[in-house]
């Protein structure tokens, strides 16, 4: 998660709407994607991620709005003349060609000599770790290898933007994790702007500089992974990314620097305005969220924390390195989820055990 050195805009998406007949697939998308950025579009199935990616690639026309790439309006510029290349979900490797022919496909009209082109192909293959596979028939490749061929084939043209539509979803878990790391490395190495579509929040958090979370054709939040995780601006985003507990609460007073809350089960506390990312003044009944790892079980003899409450263990899920508990906090109707790292001297608690739980006002997020 490196900060982008010079924030030069590469893609500007201005109030883009897209209709399929009567269906409103994109509802006013606004975003600026910087040069050299690893940008992800994250959202549930059918929210319009692919549609947005395809409008950037030029495979779909937009109904209104504008898309600029490197300062140039892409209106009327067809896909084959845009400075973008795409890695398809199915990889779209040409089955009747060899690996070399696939990778070199985009160089057909390149004025360079055949020897230079062959060198470029060899370099592209080396970049994705497929040296020696050049003469292999494309259909005789594994999923991960196809993925690499698709990458090499797109990157050999040195596009300004590489578009990837769920490129890892067809791979098994192990392979997916390997490819995630390789993609990050590759992106740093070539410095090209990557736009990745995914519905896997973990993948988006791991790989991206910034993430746009989409629901129903709209961007709900656009932030870097940490902000997105720690300060989601709506319950919906919070629930989509990781797990978040919600308990009801009340705003007692709100001043410029402090918001005073009364949270069910936790009691009175003060939070900073940044902890209400949706902005605006909150009054009356609100909802307060916190992540499972921000609660800590206090074992016997552990020093009292400044903030603690009592709860009863209602469910235990053991994960090896972690244990997840559902805890019924005193004064809260629904159990909350709590996670503890399993370290020596920290036994896994049994069902029904009563325990002290520490929490911190800094971990709370206010939703209205």
């Amino acid at each position: 998660m490196t900060a982008v050195p010079d924030a030069k805009p590469m893609i500007e998406i201005r109030d883009v709407h897209k209709y399929y007949g009567d269906y409103h697939a994109l509802r006013g998308i606004n975003a600026v994607i910087n040069a050299g950025e690893f940008f992800s579009l994250l959202g549930p199935s059918g929210c319009g991620k692919t549609t947005l990616l395809r409008t950037i690639a030029g495979f779909e026309d937009i109904s209104s709005g504008a898309i600029l790439i490197d300062g140039k309006d892409m209106h009327e510029v067809p896909a084959n003349r845009r400075p973008t290349n795409m890695v398809f979900q199915s990889y779209a490797i040409f089955p009747h060609l060899t690996v070399e022919q696939n990778v070199g496909f985009g160089l057909r009209k390149d004025p360079r000599s055949p020897a230079e082109k062959a060198k470029a192909v060899a370099e592209a293959l080396a970049m994705v770790g497929l040296t020696g596979f050049g003469t292999r028939a494309a259909h005789a490749l594994s999923g991960g290898q196809r993925q690499r061929v698709a990458l090499a084939r797109a990157l050999i043209l040195k596009p300004k933007v590489l578009l990837l539509d769920e490129p890892l979803s067809a791979l098994d878990k192990k392979m997916r994790e390997t490819m995630q790391e390789e993609l990050i490395k590759l992106q740093r190495q070539v410095g090209i702007t990557f736009i990745l579509v995914t519905h896997d929040q973990e993948e988006a958090l791991v790989m991206s500089d910034r993430i746009a979370v989409m629901f129903e054709g709209e961007i709900a939040q656009l932030d870097d992974p940490e902000t997105l995780y720690r300060r989601p601006n709506s319950r919906r985003v919070a629930e989509f990314i990781g797990v978040m507990n919600f308990v009801p609460g009340k705003v007692l007073s709100e001043t410029a620097g402090r918001i005073e809350l009364d949270v069910q089960g936790l009691g009175r506390c003060q939070i900073a305005p940044a902890q209400a990312p949706a902005g605006g003044r909150a009054t009356g009944e609100i909802s307060v969220g916190f992540r499972p790892e921000t609660l800590t079980i206090l074992y016997e003899g552990q020093a009292a924390s400044d903030r603690e409450c009592m709860g009863t263990i209602a469910e235990v899920v053991y994960f090896g390195d972690m244990t997840y508990y559902d805890v019924k906090l005193d004064g809260v109707d629904r159990p909350v989820r709590l996670s503890m790292r399993n370290v020596p001297g920290r036994p896994v608690l049994d069902l029904g055990v009563r325990t002290r739980i520490a929490w911190s006002p800094g971990a709370l997020v206010l939703f209205r």
Partner: protein, 268 residues
């Protein structure tokens, strides 16, 4: 053991199917003039008779000209139709495809009579061109059916990938789509060729004085003395069909192997 009904049925079926085909060469190489057992001894004279029969040669020339033209035109039309049916959405697509496929299920006699009426109305001379038009009508639905399968199995993102990599729509068609549907195109060419080659009704109705191979064969049935020659001709045609089908199947399998797709059956 139970009486093997199924096996007996299979054998009877095969005998019924292939006995006539095996009888062809039997009598084609038989010295006797009458098509009857016992055989009279080996002879090649009926084949020799094929060589200097000018009216037969003309019928063969006509049939080949028609069949080749028809297979090329029908397949080309089939490519357009299959491409449109699988890739584009337009109003009235369903009914339109349905109408194109109609000749597949219409009695050919009706089709032939209707076509004859039309041709007479527009004063199109009966003959070679009329037969070609008629055969195109008959063959195109078969070509569309075959090519539809080929186009359907084509992943749309392959085209988009080629386009994305800087090709035009036309060069994408040439470089990606055409090679991948080639097995389907060859099947289509072949099926249309074979259908046209042995089509009788249409040629009989709209052919005027033009004689095609099936019409020639039919006309020879009136002369018992000519029958062994027909047998020899039939033998050659059967061998030719087997050869063509084998070539088509070979091409198809090679295509399947080359693209690594799963073999979902073909002719053989």
């Amino acid at each position: 053991m139970k009486f093997p009904w199924l096996r007996v049925y299979s054998w009877l079926y095969l005998v019924f199917l292939f006995a006539p085909v095996f009888l062809l060469p039997l009598f084609a190489f038989n010295a006797g003039t009458v098509i009857a057992f016992p055989l009279q001894g080996f002879s090649l004279k009926w084949f020799a008779a094929l060589l200097d029969n000018e009216s037969l040669h003309e019928a063969v020339r006509n049939s080949l000209t028609i069949a080749i033209t028809v297979s090329v035109v029908s397949t080309t039309l089939g490519i357009f139709a299959a491409r449109a049916a699988t890739r584009y959405d337009f109003r009235g697509k369903g009914p339109m495809i349905g109408l194109i496929m109609l000749p597949l299920v219409m009695p050919e006699v009706i089709l032939a009579v209707a076509l004859l009426v039309v041709f007479l109305q527009i004063a199109l001379p009966l003959g070679m061109l009329a037969i070609i038009l008629g055969h195109i009508l008959v063959c195109t639905p078969f070509c569309i059916a075959i090519l539809n399968g080929a186009f359907l199995s084509l992943d749309k993102s392959l085209e988009e990938a080629a386009y994305d990599l800087g090709e035009t729509r036309i060069s994408t068609f040439r470089l990606i789509i055409l090679p991948l549907v080639m097995p389907g195109i060859i099947s289509s060419l072949l099926i249309a060729f074979i259908i046209s080659l042995d089509e009788f009704i249409m040629a009989f109705f709209v052919g005027g004085t033009t004689v095609t191979l099936p019409i020639y064969i039919f006309s020879q049935l009136r002369f018992p003395a000519g029958l062994p020659v027909i047998m020899a001709l039939g033998t050659i045609l059967v061998c030719l069909s087997i050869l063509l089908l084998s070539i088509a199947e070979y091409v198809r399998r090679r295509g399947v192997a080359r693209t690594g797709a799963k073999d979902t059956g073909g002719f053989l």
